[in-house]
């Protein structure tokens, strides 16, 4: 029987990061995937990033993960969202050449030491005494491992719906994992159902682009990874078109054939990503919805029409699509469908992503109720790190919600659970102005180095840049300008706002109508890169807000980080209601801060818990 330290089930966006991290941290790792040609497949939209998500991608990068570097090598259009808003909420988004993305990822994994990719399906997870022992494959072979990471995406008991037709499957063309689902249930994991959907793929050659509005990316494009020097790929265009009243008529007339509206689908779908039939029914006053036509790959005729995910029957899909401008003669390569799948309510896992039921069993990605490649990758990375740390008998890594979006996501999931596919939004983070996409390196490179995933040369590059930023901030704080003739002339020459009193350049820069420019006012900037200049500007402009949020974080920290033993007997704490005791027992919060965020928990219950923790501490002391 072959022995591994860590086995990763699944080779999607969570599985890839998990397998890479585990192997890089020195664990003999196996990655199982039923079809080896589907590694890192983008099953839905061909894009990475967006608000909240791009922050996660850059956090993965700072910790030493892969996603940012891979999209930089495979991106065919890069855009900054919220460019008109402040830097705290700006977000990168890139269109991927999905085939290149898969290829680049596969290449990195193939070259990763300690990692073996096995084309096989896991049928059973074996455990003994509440601890993982290994897995059984579809061919009956057994693999041994002390840690197993399940990152099966939509494959667990997956069921595809197109109209009233149902096909078992994890994705169009791929069989579901049914046996694994039963095995998890046998281990005591409680499974529920979620739903998601995808639009039909259209044939590029059947689309009339002449009437459509093209969409370009940024020039110059901004990379995701801190360590990407230059983006190489030529840009591709996306196109914009709209549904119209005829489209909506076709859809309305076919609702009786929709599995969503006839009650066939039981799983809950995401509110933020409704199907086109959902939009038409819920917003009858809107006579049109936009559709982004996004190329899937230069090597493929497929086009992804973003905005019209659907589970209507294939013939209806073709009918309504052909009512849309530019798509009058469109051919469908693959019809859209909805997929229902099993997930495990994430209150069943610790913030380390290890399950509470079975030691050494980790969950990452859609099995935890999330949606999105970035969310999956963030969890995969943490699961891989923690599985490896468990093998090496090191303290697990948990990321705090005041430090990272990954921390926010995992704290939300493990504390509150989720009722719909969980997607990251910037509004989920209470410390948004501190946790920006520009400073993920400042927040996490230190951690990346400490756990051993971020290579030292990359860390040193970060450190050097950070020193430059700090230096520039210091310079701008020190440099004074006075309303003398010379300064007034320079300000006028560059069309910059006047000053009436002597101020430091930093103070001047804090004015909303001033931005940093390469002129004499801001001193010699020649030794600073554009990124360093921008980040110094952000630091200065946001200083007041950052300080205020940091004060909040500090104030809470004292209480926030009080550890709670997972073995605590909540029903034995007098004064705690049975209901809350049960809740605490189920969630097993690791810190007082996490306990305080459990839904339904009262300040009174927290006081009781605090009293209990304090008296216990006194007794032990």
């Amino acid at each position: 029987m072959e022995k591994f330290d860590v086995i990763v089930i699944g080779g999607g966006h969570a599985g890839c990061e998990a397998a890479y991290a585990s192997a890089k941290l020195g664990c003999r790792t196996a990655m199982l995937i039923p079809n080896i040609s589907t590694i890192a497949k983008m099953s839905c939209n061909p894009a990475i990033g967006g608000p909240g998500k791009s922050q996660i991608v850059r956090e993965i990068d700072a910790l030493g993960g892969l996603m940012a570097a891979v999209i930089d090598q495979s991106g065919i259009q890069f855009r900054t969202l919220n460019a008109s808003k402040g830097p705290a909420v700006r977000a990168n988004r890139a269109q991927a050449d999905t085939k290149v993305y898969e290829y680049v990822m596969r290449n990195i994994l193939d070259k990763t030491e300690n990692l073996k990719i096995i084309e096989a399906e896991a049928h059973e997870i074996e455990a003994d005494n509440g601890k993982v022992k290994g897995i059984v494959l579809n061919n009956g072979n057994k693999l041994k491992a002390s840690c197993v990471i399940v990152s099966t995406g939509t494959f667990l008991n997956g069921l595809l719906h197109t109209g009233m037709e149902q096909t078992p499957g994890g994705r169009a063309g791929d069989a579901p994992s049914t046996k694994l689902s039963s095995s998890l249930k046998k281990l005591g994991v409680k499974l529920s159902r979620l739903k998601t959907g995808t639009p039909p793929r259209l044939d590029k050659n059947s689309i009339d682009y002449s009437a459509l509005k093209p969409q370009k990316g940024d020039s110059p494009p901004q990379p995701f990874s801190y360590f990407t020097e230059k983006l190489e790929r030529p840009e591709e265009l996306c196109h914009l078109t709209w549904t119209n009243e005829r489209t909506h008529e076709v859809i309305k007339n076919s609702l009786h054939r929709s599995p969503l509206f006839s009650g066939v689908i039981e799983g809950v779908g995401p509110r933020y990503c409704p199907s086109i039939e959902d939009k038409v029914v819920r917003f009858p006053e809107k006579s049109s919805h936009h559709i982004f036509l996004e190329p899937v790959s230069l090597d493929s005729p497929e086009v992804y029409p973003n905005g019209i995910s659907t589970s209507l029957p294939a013939d209806v899909q073709l009918d309504f699509i052909r009512t849309v401008e530019g798509l009058e003669k469109a051919e469908i390569i693959k019809p859209g469908y909805a997929v229902e799948y099993d997930f495990a309510q994430p209150t069943q896992i610790y913030p380390t992503l290890e399950t509470k039921k079975v030691g050494g069993l980790f969950f990452a990605g859609q099995i935890n109720g999330t949606s999105g490649y970035e969310e999956a990758a963030g969890q995969g990375l943490l699961a891989g790190i923690n599985a490896a740390r468990k093998v090496k008998e090191k303290e697990p890594l948990t990321l705090h919600r005041s430090k990272s979006y990954i921390g926010v996501m995992i704290d939300d999931l493990t504390t509150l659970g989720t009722q719909e596919p969980y997607r990251m939004f910037t509004s989920r983070a209470e410390h948004r102005l501190v946790m920006r996409q520009d400073n993920a390196d400042t927040r996490l490179c230190e951690t990346g180095l400490r756990i051993g995933l971020l290579p030292e040369p990359k860390y040193l590059a970060y450190k050097k840049k950070q020193e430059k930023i700090n230096l520039l901030v210091k310079n701008l704080n020190r440099k004074m300008i006075a309303p003398n003739k010379e300064t007034i002339a320079v300000l006028r020459e560059h069309n910059m706002p006047k000053i009436n009193d002597p101020v430091s350049v930093a103070q001047y820069l804090r004015r909303p109508d001033v931005t940093i420019e390469k002129n004499r006012i801001f001193g010699d900037l020649s030794e600073f890169s554009d990124e360093v200049i921008l980040r110094a500007e952000i630091e200065i402009k946001y200083e007041g807000y950052i300080k205020r949020q940091e004060k909040w974080i500090k104030e809470l920290e004292g209480i926030e980080n009080i550890p709670i033993a997972t073995g605590i007997n909540y029903s034995g704490i007098s004064g705690l209601s049975t209901e809350l005791a049960q809740k605490l027992t189920a969630i097993k919060p690791m810190t007082f801060g996490q306990a305080s965020r459990i839904s339904g928990i009262t300040p009174a219950a927290l006081s009781i818990l605090m009293v209990h923790l304090k008296t216990k501490k006194q007794k032990n002391a």
Binding site: L81, V89, A91, H289, F425, S427, E555, T602, M610, V611
Partner: protein, 453 residues
């Protein structure tokens, strides 16, 4: 602090009274009370029934302590949500102390200050602002203050703040939507519309903040200084207003040398009347100190009553009194001794003095009426409006108001900055209701509780 033991304390004020009450709370309340209490009529069951009043004797080893009434309240239907009992004894301090000792011998522990309410809070019976209401209710110095405290206990302030919270949540949702869904087609409300919502929240906050001024009067009372030259009848007036001989009255000018304070209640507000030394121009040393204090009292008082003598001519001292009066926040001019021959020439048409005779009891009611008007205007006691009485709340509300202001100011600079202001305001609201847990707030509050509640 432990929650699993049973606590006991004397719940009524120390001193002689008709009745004195001892309360017990905790798991073993019933056992403890049954060890010491023998009901007069035989019980139908083994133990006392919940929420029934029993008459009988409370006994310790040496014999009967007192004839008492006992009520047992089974959890969770009690103030603390724990098993509780109350023993009504006769109100002698000696009896109460002996009864308490007896209960402690039987297994209860002396309650810490505020522990009953602390338990009520910890057991989820009341929220933080309600707990604060209880403290205020216990310490209430007047009917109006009791009313405000009761409203706080009932959650009146919380419901006001909830209106603000709704406005903030609505605004935040709009702000967040435009940040998180930049590629969507929908339109969020315009900056101007959002600022309008925030303006409404500001209005609410301002009215709450304004109510602190009246809230301060409700809680701490209103100070009313009586000034005038010597022997004009200040002390007599004070005595007449409070209907008791508080200030010593003689025919000698300058009898009152130090400040004399007397508390009373007018128009539902606690009022502190301050009698002062007479003001005149050539005082000896002790008098000079008294005069200095009088002027200081007049300066810090919420209202000043200046007394003038109808039977004497206007002089320099009167002039000084009038000047002092004019500087008062609320001035009331009074001419006393209208029963005697009128010699006073009132010099200032801008102030209309109230004529009265303390000696003959003429015009006192008129003065009382105008004081009441002044007091209730200041207290602005409306039956509906809950008022802010605590500095903790004032501080939080001020911060909320300034966070909202920031959100408005920064709307134009960036919605994410505006959102940060709204977010901060919402966090402060959580602090007010106790939704956001901080240890320090709790200990601070419970330090204020007096024993027994």
């Amino acid at each position: 602090m432990k929650l699993d033991d049973t606590i006991a304390a004397i719940a009524t004020p120390i001193g002689e009274g008709g009745l004195g009450v001892i309360r017990l709370s905790g798991q073993n309340s019933l056992e403890i009370i049954q060890k010491a209490f023998t009901p007069k009529s035989k019980l139908k069951s083994d133990s006392l029934k919940s929420h029934r009043l029993y008459f009988g004797k409370l006994k310790d080893k040496t014999g009967t302590i007192d004839e008492v009434c006992v009520v047992y309240m089974k959890a969770p239907r009690s103030y603390t949500k724990e098993n509780s009992a109350e023993v009504s004894c006769h109100g002698s301090p000696a009896v109460l102390r002996r009864a308490l000792k007896c209960l402690i011998t039987n297994g209860a522990r002396m309650a810490e200050p505020g522990e009953f309410t602390k338990r009520a809070f910890l057991n989820g019976r009341i929220d933080l602002s309600q707990a604060e209401g209880v403290i205020d209710l216990i310490k209430a110095r007047s009917e109006g203050a009791a009313d405000a405290a009761f409203k706080l206990m009932e959650g009146g302030l919380s419901s006001r703040i909830n209106v603000v919270k709704e406005k903030l949540v609505h605004t935040l949702a709009q702000l967040e939507a435009s940040i998180d869904f930049p590629d969507e087609e929908f339109q969020t409300e315009t900056d101007e519309q959002l600022i309008k919502h925030l303006d409404k929240a500001t209005d609410r906050m301002n009215s709450l903040l304004r109510s602190y001024e009246s809230g301060k009067f409700l809680k701490h009372g209103m100070g009313l200084a009586i000034i005038g030259k010597p022997n004009v009848g200040k002390s007599s007036l004070l005595n007449a207003l409070i209907e008791e001989e508080r200030s010593i009255v003689t025919g000698h000018p300058g009898t009152t040398r130090d400040l004399i304070r007397a508390e009373t209640e007018l128009a539902g507000l606690p009022v502190e009347l301050i009698d002062t030394a007479g003001l005149h121009c050539s005082p000896e040393e002790v008098e000079a100190i008294g005069i200095e204090r009088a002027l200081k009292a007049a300066k810090s008082a919420d209202a000043v009553i200046a007394l003038f003598d109808a039977s004497r001519e206007w002089d320099e001292a009167d002039e000084q009194v009038l000047e002092t009066l004019k500087k008062a926040k609320i001035p009331i001019a009074v001419i006393n001794k209208t029963d005697m021959t009128h010699k006073l020439n009132w010099p200032d048409a801008s102030i209309i003095p109230l004529p009265l005779s303390v000696k003959e009891r003429v015009g006192i009611d008129g003065l009382l009426e105008s004081i009441k008007t002044v007091v209730s205007d200041a207290g602005n006691i409306s039956q509906e409006e809950p008022v802010v009485t605590r500095t903790r709340h004032l501080e939080i509300f001020k911060r909320i108001a300034s966070d909202i202001q920031r959100a408005k100011d920064e709307m134009a600079i960036g919605r994410e900055l505006s959102a940060a202001g709204v977010w901060d305001a919402l966090e402060e609201i959580k602090r007010f209701t106790g939704e956001s847990y901080t240890d320090e707030i709790l200990s601070k509050i419970f330090d204020e509780f007096c024993i027994g509640k």
